[in-house]
């Protein structure tokens, strides 16, 4: 999927699973959006039927319906734009991209998944772009693994803040706060950590009483990144 000739079948399976999970989540949301528009169209037909029987449709009712459809189409377009941006992250194994935009897009795609698990996902991402050269797809797969680990045994009221920062050492961070005591959370390690290293990233974590912070730090090893392209 990423064009990495050295990629093992296990890595490909993991990448496909990640791609599938994101696609399933977004298409579920799009199905909800289209279902609402479909039912709204049905409601308009009902109101027209009623109007033909001599019961006029109040203008404010039509205004409210139009606003609802407009909101849903905007919501649908937002999902499509984000899914499209995610899908294009596979175009090139290594590319220059804005880390903030990628993190924001990733967080938006994961928000519904988190909400379904009763976890409040928010972001702390600066407006200014942070340009880096790395492998956007593999990076997002790593981020996905971390979020998945956090969401494996969630408790109602848990919070996850996805952050990003630039400067000399660009970083993506996850701050997961449990509503009660801190549980065990799987960390990327072993072969996975080595894979992150190959695309110029390292990962470390801090575990507190009720909080876990996982940081992805960009090391900017362009020679290591180039290795993937060969």
């Amino acid at each position: 999927m990423t064009g990495d000739k050295e990629c093992s079948s296990g890595e490909h399976a993991s990448e496909l699973a990640f791609f599938g999970a994101i696609t399933a989540s977004v298409t579920h949301e799009l199905n909800n959006v289209l279902s609402i528009i479909d039912q709204t169209a049905g409601l308009l037909e009902d109101l027209l039927y009623s109007a033909r029987q001599g019961k006029p449709i109040p203008p404010e009712k039509l205004q409210s319906i139009a606003a609802g459809v407009s909101n849903q189409t905007a919501r649908g377009f937002d999902f499509i734009r984000r899914l499209n941006r995610f899908a294009h992250s596979v175009d090139e194994p290594v590319s220059e991209f804005d880390l903030c935009a990628l993190t924001d897009n990733f967080a938006a795609l994961m928000k519904r998944v988190a909400t379904l698990k009763r976890v409040e996902l928010t972001t702390d991402i600066p407006d200014a772009p942070v340009q880096i050269v790395s492998c956007p797809f593999k990076l997002q797969e790593a981020l996905f693994r971390v979020v998945n680990a956090f969401l494996s045994e969630p408790e109602k009221g848990d919070r996850l803040i996805v952050g990003c920062r630039g400067g000399a050492a660009p970083e993506i961070s996850f701050k997961y706060t449990r509503s009660s005591s801190c549980g065990t959370i799987e960390q990327p390690k072993g072969e996975w950590e080595e894979r992150l290293g190959r695309i110029g990233w390292s990962v470390d974590s801090e575990t507190g009483v009720d909080q876990i912070i996982v940081r992805f730090s960009f090391k900017g090893k362009t020679d290591a990144v180039t290795e993937i392209q060969e």
Binding site: H28, S35, I36, Q39, G42, L43, G68, L116, K117, R118
Partner: protein
């Protein structure tokens, strides 16, 4: 005129409120809740003849809610709404005792037919 009262439960308020309005337009008494906890509270104060539960909801999931409803209201017919297609497509199992499931998008006519069948002749 249909003679039953339905409770629809889905966290997508715009969807569930529109469905409720369309059912009422057809003479069916219907109410909605946007969470499992709201549904449980409503059902403790008013009897319903059939409930329609979305499978995927934040907080109390559709499956969790069904378990609670089956315990508190063992004879209540339950219809589940799935995201796309058959439950197997979503790798979930419809709990035993659930009357039937419908995939989204739900046709109003199919929903009424299914609810009528579930309440057994009250339509």
């Amino acid at each position: 005129m249909n003679k039953f009262c339905a409770l629809l439960i889905d966290d997508e308020e715009e969807l569930v409120s529109t469905l409720t309005e369309r059912l009422e337009f057809r003479g069916i008494e219907a109410e909605y809740a946007v969470s499992g906890s709201e549904a449980i509270a409503k059902m403790r104060t008013k009897p319903y003849d059939v409930v329609v539960v979305d499978m995927k909801m934040p907080g109390l999931s559709g499956l969790d809610l069904v378990k609670i409803l089956q315990k508190e209201h063992p004879s209540l017919p339950i219809i589940m709404i799935t995201g796309h297609g058959a439950p197997a497509d979503e790798q979930v199992e419809i709990p035993a005792g659930v009357f039937d499931y419908l995939p989204k998008p739900v046709s109003i006519e199919v929903l009424i037919k299914k609810m009528s069948e579930a309440v057994g002749g009250k339509a």
